[in-house]
């Protein structure tokens, strides 16, 4: 992304470039061990136009770096390479399969006197390894969710099938990476949970049980409201990546029609069924359509042990969305979908309005929507629960933050420090802009608070954070 500095006069403009994706490739060093066969190692390369020899050279460098670091620790080779112009991230998700992401450092282009090419300054300290390392791992997890492991593809159809799958998936996926807006939340990869009273929670649980009872084909169910998770029967790691897909890709794609006016052509045919507001987000968009197709996306879960391939049905009524997962060996037809629609639709509509009511009551108690009193990020490693009052609502996959990027990077620095030792810690820093940043880590939980109280001292800042903990996290003990 290019941003033009507003202070510069026209004609002598300084151009600021944010970090961007230079290369993304996947290779297996065992596939072309002989000289002259190096190209066979490369399973995927973005951008594909890159000349063959350059591809081979870049892969060669990665191999050399990984091999070199084994001199110092055979079991833990390199994870990243820093150079003046870019950073490269290495990830070996399956034995001998390496994924490499090359990100160009942010840079400033300064124009020179006539005739001379502009000077380029690379900002080498701006990219946080933890953030982009996590983004790279997420790429693999997302691939695996829809395609299964590399190993399975190799077994099923050899290199040819694997390269096809990689090409098909990453060609589109890489376009959705927004490298300039990645931050600490990508490191956590957490799940936002919907806060709910016990009664409503039990209602939802009994709803899930009833549906699973009636439709025996359903293996797993997940329940979300307003992009927040309420209930999930999946393993945590699988839910984490499914949640990411739902909230950053599937839901944003379907939110526009709902926002559109009643007569807008975008609005889907919900009429004809006045009993409920339920509709399929995956599979058939209109059950009444005689041409409707009953194909659902396939996902792969439990790839470590059971290795299950499932149909992913996402069904939504108002702000409530439910994912039903059914073994891929079963063929889904019109009959099943109609059954599901007539069973789930009315109940979910009712449930959604119940939750909505509850939600509004809660909001009235906690006061109207305004700038949150505290800017904070909370993450719990045990249940992946995350909460941020710093990030605005996400649009597509871009999230906006309400604080200066430098402060976000200080949060990232503190997080790196916490990750190094498995001890409870607290860090309070005062930035040059006089903002205070507080990081607390206690028993798998991390809390980061940004305070804009320029004249406060350490003790006052501490009191302020205590107040926050008392109101928001009264049952969590943080080291003082």
């Amino acid at each position: 992304m290019l941003m033009i500095s507003p202070r510069m006069a026209a004609g002598m403009q300084e151009k600021q470039y944010t970090p961007s994706l230079l290369n993304f490739f996947i290779y297996n060093p065992k596939f072309g061990p002989r000289e002259g066969e190096e190209e066979k190692k490369i399973l995927f390369y973005h951008p594909s136009e890159v000349e063959k020899n350059e591809k081979i050279r870049n892969v060669g460098l990665c191999e050399a770096i990984v091999q070199f670091t084994r001199t110092f620790c055979p079991s833990k080779p390199a994870k990243s390479l820093h150079t003046q112009k870019n950073r490269q991230f290495f990830y070996e998700p399956e034995e001998n399969f390496w994924i490499v992401m090359v990100v160009r450092n942010p840079m400033i282009e300064k124009p020179n006197k006539e005739g001379k090419p502009p000077t380029i300054e690379y900002q080498e300290e701006e990219i946080l390894d933890t953030v982009y390392g996590a983004v790279l791992q997420q790429c693999y997890s997302m691939y695996k969710l829809f395609n299964g492991t590399f190993g399975r593809a190799m077994e099923a159809g050899g290199v040819e099938l694997l390269t096809q799958k990689l090409e098909k998936f990453f060609y589109r996926y890489l376009q959705t990476l927004h490298l300039h807006s990645c931050d600490l939340l990508d490191v956590f990869g957490g799940i936002s949970f919907f806060p709910l009273d016990k009664m409503t929670y039990l209602k939802i649980q009994s709803f899930v049980n009833r549906v699973e009872e009636s439709l025996r084909l359903i293996k797993y169910t997940a329940f979300l409201y307003n992009d927040q998770l309420i209930w999930s029967g999946l393993e945590q790691e699988d839910m984490r990546i499914l949640y990411k897909y739902l909230t950053t890709s599937l839901f944003p794609r379907h939110s526009e029609p709902e926002l559109a006016g009643r007569d807008s052509p975008l609005r889907p045919e919900v009429a004809g069924n006045l009993l409920h507001y339920g509709r399929f987000l995956t599979g058939p968009s209109n059950l009444k359509d005689p041409e409707a197709k009953f194909r659902f996306p396939r996902i792969f879960v439990n790839t470590g042990e059971g290795y299950e391939e499932l149909h992913l049905i996402v069904y939504k009524a108002m702000s409530a969305a439910v994912c039903f997962m059914i073994s891929a060996s079963v063929e889904l037809n019109r009959e099943f979908c109609e059954q599901l629609d007539s069973l789930v639709g009315p109940q979910l509509t009712l449930l959604a309005s119940d939750i909505c009511e509850q939600y509004n009551i809660n909001r009235r108690i906690s006061g109207p929507d305004r700038e949150p009193q505290f800017k904070f990020i909370y993450f719990n490693h045990m249940n992946l629960a995350e909460k941020s009052t710093i990030h605005m609502r996400k649009t597509a996959s871009v999230s906006l933050t309400s604080v200066h990027p430098d402060l976000m990077k200080i949060l990232g620095d503190i997080n790196c420090d916490f990750a190094r030792v498995d001890e409870d810690e607290e860090i309070i820093v005062k930035a040059m802009t006089d903002y205070w940043v507080v990081g607390k880590k206690s028993d798998q939980r991390e809390l980061y608070v940004i305070l804009n109280q320029k004249n406060a001292n350490l003790i006052e800042v501490n009191e302020e954070v205590k107040r926050l903990c008392a109101t928001q996290f009264n049952n969590i003990f943080f080291l003082d």
């Binding site: 500095s5 003046q84 430098d406």
Partner: protein
Amino acid sequence: MEADVHNTNAPVENGSLAPVDRLRHERSDSPTPGLVEGTEPGAGQDSAMFVHAQSFEDLTADDGEQEQELSEEGTDGTLETQEQESGESRDGGGESGEAQDTQAEEEQEDEEAQSSGGRDKEEDVTSEAWRRHRKHVFVLSEAGKPIYSRYGTEEALSSTMGVMMALVSFVEAEKNVIRSIHAEDYKVVFLRKSPLVLVGVSRTRQSERELTRELLYIYYQIISLLTLTQLNHIFQHKQNYDLRRLLAGSEHLTDNLLRLLDRDPGLLLSAVTCLPLPSSSRDVISSSLQAAKAKSLVFSILLAGNRLVTLVRKKDQFLHHMDLHLLFNLVGSSSSFREGEGWTPICLPKFNTAGFFHAHISYLEPASDLCLILVSTDREDFFNLSDCKRRFLERLRRRSAYQALQEALRTPSYSVSQVGIAELRHFVYKSKSSGLYTSPEIPIPYQSEEEQERLMGLYQYLHSCMHHPTRPLRSIYRCGERENLLAWVTSGFELYLCFSPLGTKEQAMAAISKLLKWIRKEEDRLFILSPQTY
């Protein structure tokens, strides 16, 4: 030289990041009014002793500036400039070749003397023990030839070093520069200082920048033995020259410097600590040293162990911390200077990378810790400087300052309990304008070698957070299970405190003002407030 730039002097001029850079220079709005630069405790009353490298940022910046100072002198002919024809003339008897010989011989003797605590080079470089070393350092030539390895023999590591050079050249071929490789619990840092390449492999928590700066120290250590002019000359003539032939016997200097970097806060802070001494005594010693001058004498330095007693310099000539640390290291790693008067050529690279100074190094008494270093520009000055030393000692004895000095030597440090702050275990305070720091002796929980390095590691961590190149901080408080830490940097000083884990934030806040008051009260004794010149 390109590698030197390394992002340091690149002010960020864009809409979003600019304020940070600007603010870095405005530390004067610190919450302690009156403690601006030059008035903080420990600030010198007259001019400073050192080149104004107050901060870490200065040190890693390009060193072109300081070199100019001497280039004038160089043309006067007072400083000997390297004009050796061939670097291989060790046997041919070129003039500096001779100088090298004497030095090398001296050091070889040292090595024998130190063999008990010396290098264990015969390590198996494929063993787990070799891999587990906290910090490896490798120096190689641009042809990929090994020059130095901290652990293991260069021969055994020659293929590893070959790979290092290949990686450097490969990235350079793409018009790019390799900086570092990061793995789960270690980093590999590259520093390209043509005609040398330095590589560090570290399992410490130090930042990439801190490690690069340590490699820079090692680079200057090598320059101090050879001069950059000679080094360049050698490799221009013969690209795959084996530099170990010239550096033979000097490995222990590099070993020792690496040990200092792991333990001595002075190298981290770009500062020097002083022997606590009543200012009246120190003034007498300084003036005695000042009186014992000679025409070509540039610096007179009196050390007590690794503490500075006094430093007198030629007017308009400044010594850089890095150069002083290299002198400390030279004295600290060789026992031969105890035998008598030493005479050795030394290049002070921050002063001038092109030429040699000549240092007269001797202990005031064989068993004493007091070491006098007289730095001259004249190669033939040995007897003059020997005479300077004699005059200095005479004066010292006549004015009975020697007694006071001996007295002070018995308590070269102080305990933190003297400051009287509850839960305070240790601290480091640096006065930025004088470039001097003070710190109590290492307290009990940190006395083992391992714990001492861990404490130092904590300070290194605080230092790198405070001096982050794009996100510097005003203060940091870190509370952990083993200790609580506080760091505070203003325009006048840098302060790093280590409290017991029982210490509270209230105590920490109160400790700052109490400690600053105490240092102010003791500054006469802990710092050199009135540096002298000839």
